[in-house]
Symmetry: C2
Subunit: 487 residues, 2 copies
């Protein structure tokens, strides 16, 4: 095939693999999607990426860009037509520059997130993006999905951490937008258009990112609240008391912690008796060079306890206790859930003021439509982001439960919509949520997105069929359920 | 004229003014631009804005949207064809909602910035956008130009403070995007595309904005540095020592302060003897609920003085001294300059690590091409943003000097470009910089912008001729001067 020969001439024989039907790059990490592809192409430079795209334009070959392949939305998995190439950017993994006076780092898209964190730390700086997959996800994927994680409350999403981009366009041109500027008002914001577009508008090959002072210490506590309302109300107390030093406010429902508590292999020794309806929060203060953080941490908590603004506070006394608290939040709950069997997951966000009403309304809606299902909720309270997972009723056959997946999604998403929330907080749309998106976006918004897609990728070669359905103008459908849906 | 009748039917007779040749809305605040218009239309609701746009679509009438008309780039002034209407949004001035649990405020585009600051303060919150024109500029204009100001170091530009938008499109549809969400990854980032587009892609009618805890106090100092390098190096010290409590780091060159010192009516009593080559900085720490800020402020400054990292530090002892320091920075320099006669202004930004090399290079380039000109520089060091003003050589005729304006701009902008900077940090492009933009953007970037403009405003009715030249595909020209220009 002429295309394969041309691609080999560009990137070298060793970097174009064909006959790859069983290859890991053709499936997603959850094992839900599997596609086919003409070839797996691994370019070694931005110029090679651009040349590959220009070849694909000639033959109208779709391009599915892939980083660490850790995404949960199937955005990096090709369809089963076998017409696309998978463009894997792992070889573009140079840290091009660290500028400590400007507090910026310029990295290529194939850098693993942890590599970027380490390069920053080696220069006495913090690159604050932090999430579960940081040991294998790449910056290109973080940018493509506008990744969030545990430090968003203080430092923002990937979008907020990015000053400049280098992008290969759908025609194979290179946009040199690697600016290290905090202020630049010279025309339309192309940068933020490419960020979060999941490889459908252009191929991000490098980025200039913000760095921050490295904290000199952390103060971490596990707090118990009567209910979610009380936890939400405590966010104001924490923000007023600690300001920007507050870098994490993660919540876990009593039910989520009970799952961990019930498992002897997972239960940490410090875990208090877990109440069914209580909510728990992991709070962390990052201490800068100024010192005094521990004292301030305890002062605010002490006063709040006196005032009855929380039930209990357990403070990590050393680094290993701190890590154990994070382990509980980041791995304990997921592990305990996994041992129970697959559940139906939702990555949603709400205005913080609507978190508690949403949780109450959604629980009763689920009970009405799917009696007996159990909800395991936890997430980033400071960002209004819940991971809201629904498990089978006790004793219910698993296959039968999973067959209800679409209906359960609709109950949850309709309830999210009725509380002005988002059906995808930090994971993106990919293929998983592509076909429900038209239920929760207006015709106008979908049409504006389609126009932008057509303007920047007129041949529809970049990750076609992701985010937006291909070819058809989709219309929003009527919501299934009995919520008042805001349009 | 049928259009005028239709507009009157929509907004009421009192809100369509015709025969307005001398009207203030047809000129810009600097008195540089003056245009003509069919009518000045002042709608009272978003629905009226949308209906006005739909009428203008029928007759292909251009629409120039205007807020407080305080912009410096001529973006809100119509051209002299007289074909456009000016759409003034001042009647859309409701604060629709304050949500203290979510820390957001939803306001209409015609709200004056100060009104938004006041509404936030009334609820015990800070809306941190702050700039000289805050008593008369409107949020719509702040959004349209992605305004910056004095608090960007800590809180970001208008873009960073915005969670959601309501926008009337070029077809007169209403995009209901007023989301109060910190995380929302459901498709392309329309919000950031409209922000900073200067009324050329859509008409922003309302926004949901972030609020922050109200500082309980400030600690402010005027610092003296040997030179700009030393001031830049101190930013790292300040960020490490004070973290996010550092909310302002404004610099003023010795020459800028000498202008003020030489004027008995402007010179504040605390002003030290001003050295020609020294640089001065106004630093401010905002104190949250935790207290102890004054002590930390003095500790870090004391240690830095011992280590020779600055020459002197004058600390404001009370609120009136603090305000006098801000007065010096925000008004003193501008006043002193104004009394000298008009100068040639540049609002530029650079990577912070390139500020000092830029200032040295640009001074020698100006001296080479325009011997004797004097540079008055000051600005937001923490954001890499300089206001870089060039005055006539002593004794030079003023008219003769101003005739050199274009050439002086080119010297400065070419030097900015050679140091990877931006020719518009916070003021936008409008008409003032529209025709120099193609010198400093690649063909590709201009083309991507043109495609987006055509996708969202296919009839080119929204503020035509602003940001991008109308009708022609402009190509970058060769730089005039002897810098190595990065493409």
């Amino acid at each position: 095939m002429a295309l394969i020969g041309a691609l080999r001439a560009i990137v070298g024989n060793n970097h174009v693999a064909t006959g790859i039907d069983g290859h890991a790059a053709l499936g997603d990490i959850r094992g839900v999607y599997r596609g086919r592809a003409l070839a797996l192409v691994t370019p070694g430079s931005v110029a090679e990426v651009a040349a590959v795209v220009r070849e694909c334009v000639k033959t109208r070959t779709p391009i599915v860009v892939q980083g660490g392949n850790t995404g949960l939305m199937g955005a990096a998995t090709p369809d089963d037509s076998g017409r696309a190439i998978v463009l894997q950017l792992g070889r573009l993994n140079a840290v091009r520059n660290v500028d400590t006076d400007n507090d910026t780092i310029t990295v290529e898209a194939g850098c693993v997130l942890q590599q970027v964190q380490d390069a920053a730390r080696a220069c006495g700086r913090l690159f604050p993006l932090s999430l579960g997959a940081e040991g294998s996800c790449t910056l290109g994927g973080n940018l493509g999905t506008n990744a969030g994680g545990t430090q968003v409350l203080r430092y923002g999403n990937t979008r907020d951490l990015t000053l400049g981009l280098e992008v290969v366009t759908a025609e194979g041109d290179i946009w040199h937008g690697l600016r290290g500027l905090r202020k630049d008002n010279t025309g339309y914001d192309l940068r933020d258009l490419y960020i979060g577009s999941e490889g459908t508008l252009g191929i991000i090959t490098a980025a200039t990112l913000k760095l921050y002072p490295l904290p000199v210490g952390y103060h971490t506590g596990l707090l118990t609240f009567v209910d979610l309302e009380q936890a939400v109300a405590f966010l104001s107390v924490a923000r007023q008391g600690w300001g920007a030093a507050l870098t994490a406010f993660e919540v876990m429902s009593g039910r989520a912690l009970q799952l961990v508590a019930a498992d002897a292999g997972l239960r940490p020794p410090f875990l208090p008796h877990v109440e069914d309806d209580a909510w728990y929060a992991l709070l962390e203060l990052s201490e800068g060079g100024e010192g005094g953080g521990g004292e301030r941490f305890e002062q605010v908590l002490g006063l709040a306890l006196e005032q009855g603004r929380l039930v209990d506070a357990l403070i990590a006394q050393n680094e290993s206790q701190r890590l154990a608290m994070w382990q509980l939040r980041e791995h304990g709950i997921s592990e305990a859930q996994a041992r129970e069997g697959r559940n139906i997951k939702h990555d949603i966000s709400l205005p913080i003021s609507r978190l508690a009403p949403f949780v109450a309304d959604c629980a009763s809606a689920l009970e009405r439509h799917y009696p007996g299902v159990r909800v395991i909720a936890f997430g980033h309270l400071g960002d209004g982001n819940l991971h809201y997972n629904v498990s089978a009723p006790a004793g219910c056959g698993h296959a039968g439960f999973l067959a209800q997946e679409e209906g359960i999604h609709r109950v949850v998403y309709d309830c999210v919509q009725s509380h002005d929330g988002s059906i995808s907080a930090e994971h993106g749309i990919g293929q998983v949520k592509r076909d429900v998106l038209p239920y929760y976006k207006t015709c106008l918004e979908l049409q504006l997105m389609q126009r932008i897609k057509a303007a920047l990728d007129p041949l529809n070669l970049l990750n076609p069929g992701k985010v937006l359905a291909t070819g058809t103008e989709r219309r929003p459908l009527q919501p299934l359920l009995d919520f008042e849906v805001n349009s």
